[in-house]
């Protein structure tokens, strides 16, 4: 039980990070972006590449920090990957979504995002191979925090949780303490009024992609540390991210954070009841339940 709780919170924190960007894009650009989860893969594989390069140039950076299987090189690489992934998202917007925004309806953008996801996922497979990768070969051992009820925690998992919470706290500060954050919230609420108040929409759209891509990259790295990297990780996560965004209510950052934890917990508790093979179906059940019970999610407004 306790183990399921911890595992659920851990996975939930990663899903929350990924879902925040998704909910912002769905709200501000008004389309369900099926390629968002691929940004997690982009971020994770960027970090993997930078990490290898950095560790090659400056071997001391590759030393593992304390009990963690992370190094200074990986930390720097993650930051670089977050920036690069943010700009990747802007680039994809420019190449595909922005053009469709000007000429077609939002569902056409949803449709295109399926195609974009297929291309991104398989390009990663082509470049990095179909096999799975890990950030480090070091095996990290779990500490038994409690034997009855059984609770095993790896040092890495504590770090993942802390990093995820720190990233969310940083975003929260941005949105509630800076005028840039107010501007982003303003665009989400009423784009026309935002323009009237001097906010240039194109730059806010870019900011949305940068934040969404950056957080997705961090989520991808954390997922890779906890599990492993694979070109299909985006495919495996996309439905969970949508479930988190929908449970939380579209456009609500707080909702997406909470939604991530709800979906993570639902998945980890579900395998206490159901055979593990049914796990991929859990996010769908969460979505369906939300749509029947509270279609606008926990914090969403009707629109």
């Amino acid at each position: 039980m306790i183990q399921a709780l911890f595992d659920g919170v851990l996975v939930g924190s990663i899903l929350s990070l990924g879902a925040i960007g998704l909910t912002l894009v769905m709200h501000i650009l008004r389309f369900a972006n099926f390629s968002h989860a691929e940004l997690l893969s982009v971020g994770a594989y960027c970090a993997l590449t930078f990490d290898a390069v950095l560790s090659g140039i400056a071997p001391p950076l590759a030393n593992l920090i304390g009990p963690f299987s992370m190094s200074a090189a990986l930390a720097l690489s993650t930051l670089a990957a977050a920036i690069l992934t943010g700009f990747t998202a802007v680039l994809i917007d420019r190449l595909v979504f922005r053009r469709l925004r000007d000429t077609a309806g939002p569902l056409t953008m949803v449709f295109a995002s399926f195609g974009v996801a297929l291309i991104m996922r398989n390009l990663i497979a082509l470049v990095f191979g179909l096999r799975t990768e890990r950030f480090t070969d070091a095996i990290s051992f779990a500490t038994m925090v409690s034997s009855d009820p059984l609770l095993l925690i790896k040092p890495d998992q504590v770090a993942i949780l802390l990093i995820a919470v720190a990233a969310m706290a940083a975003l929260h500060l941005l949105l509630t303490r800076t005028t840039l954050g107010f501007a982003l919230r303003a665009v989400a609420e009423n784009p026309t009024l935002a323009q009237v108040n001097g906010i240039a929409l194109p730059s806010m759209i870019r900011l949305t992609w940068i934040i969404g891509g950056g957080l997705a990259a961090i989520a991808g790295v954390l997922y890779g540390i906890d599990n492993q990297l694979s070109p299909v990780m985006g495919r495996d996560l996309v439905l969970s991210l949508f479930a988190a965004a929908i449970v939380g209510g579209l456009g609500s950052v707080t909702g997406a954070m909470l939604g991530g934890f709800i979906v993570g917990l639902a998945s980890s508790f579900a395998i206490l009841l159901l055979p593990a093979g049914y796990k991929p179906a859990i996010p769908f059940l969460v979505i369906l339940a939300t749509l029947y019970i509270r279609p606008n999610g926990l914090f969403g407004e009707a629109r």
């Binding site: 077609a104 195609g115 497979a125 949508f242 996010p283 749509l291």
Partner: protein, 330 residues
């Protein structure tokens, strides 16, 4: 030569079966503007239920009712329709991309289900063995494959004719009216959510029919056949052909399925050994590119919809951000 002809017959049979599914999608997307991100869920449901209803006894597992083939096929299609009602009731009232997410989700859920519910579905190994209609009477395999092609084409023609009548009827005009302007349709006393649900269910039934036919043809169905790529392939077929145009939908099926098969052939015969493993990866990129490039360059497909009504909803009237400043300038 006979090898090539029999391959051609095989190719055309699959094309005809997929074209039925594409026509179902065309009703949903092309006419009613409903986004179905999980075509494979309805296709797969039709396939599995058909084979469970019509198949022989399977040692101890559920099914093997041995129903006559037409009944089994109809049962599969009906089951796909029921599934559509379940998803549609929750979503046709909501923001339109919710249906995209929910249908995408149900495809994943159904795949997980058939992989694991061994008692019902045979699990990962699937359900094998099915006596195809009139197979006992036609004992020449080549003749039988010709017969089956004819059967698939006849069903395709029936579906095509039925849908053509439907979309040119007042009901079809209502569907397109709702697609273009839901608010206006509501103000005319129509219930858009209800009509959208109907179109969604009819489309799903047609996809279920295609799935049942597919399982009949192979006398086999397994979770492999429910891979998400099938949804994307069917989408690519529709968009290449021209959403809203039934002839275009069929042409698109032929073109895209032809590209898929040809690219598979080229890769397997020409690509170096170490790249063989990545043949599927390259084919997936091809499908992704077909979708994105078609949307960007020729969004209305090879055979565009013949429009009696206004153009597709643009950014101004769908609530999307439109930069009024840019319009102002232009």
């Amino acid at each position: 030569m006979i090898g090539f002809v029999s391959y051609l017959v095989f190719f055309l049979t699959i094309t005809a079966i997929l074209a039925i599914a594409v026509l179902g999608l065309n009703l949903q997307w092309g006419n009613a503007g409903i986004f179905n991100g999980g075509v494979v869920a309805f296709f797969g449901t039709g396939a599995y239920i058909m084979i469970i209803l019509g198949g022989p006894e399977r040692g101890g597992e559920f099914g093997g009712f041995g129903l006559p083939w037409p009944l089994a096929l109809a049962g599969g299609a009906a089951a796909a329709g029921l599934l559509a009602i379940l998803v549609g009731l929750a979503t046709t009232r909501l923001r339109h991309d919710y249906l995209a997410i929910a249908t995408f989700g149900i495809a994943i859920a159904i795949e997980a289900f058939v992989r694991n519910a061994t008692y019902l579905t045979g699990g990962a190994k699937g359900i094998r063995g099915f006596e195809r209609p009139l197979e006992a009477l036609i004992d020449n395999p080549f003749l039988y494959s010709l017969f089956f092609l004819a059967l698939a084409v006849v069903l395709l023609i029936i579906v095509y004719a039925g849908l053509s009548r439907l979309v040119s009827s007042p009901y079809g005009r209502l569907l397109r009216a709702i697609r273009e302007d839901e608010t206006a349709a509501r103000s005319l006393g129509k219930n858009p959510a209800r009509v959208r649900l109907e179109a969604f269910v009819i489309g799903a039934v047609i996809m279920g029919l295609a799935g049942g036919l597919y399982a009949t043809f192979y006398a086999f169905i397994s979770p492999q056949d429910l891979a998400p790529i099938l949804t994307f392939q069917i989408w690519a077929m529709l968009i290449v052909g021209g959403a809203g145009n039934n002839l275009g939908a069929m042409l698109g099926t032929f073109v895209v399925w032809g590209c898929w098969v040809a690219s598979g052939y080229v890769l397997s015969s020409l690509a170096p050994q170490e790249l063989q493993l990545y043949a599927g990866t390259l084919q997936y990129i091809l499908i992704g590119l077909i979708i994105v490039v078609t949307l960007l360059i020729r969004p209305r497909g090879l055979l565009p919809e013949r429009l009696q009504v206004t153009k597709r909803p643009g950014p101004q009237n769908t609530g999307v951000i439109s930069n009024a400043g840019e319009q102002y300038q232009s």
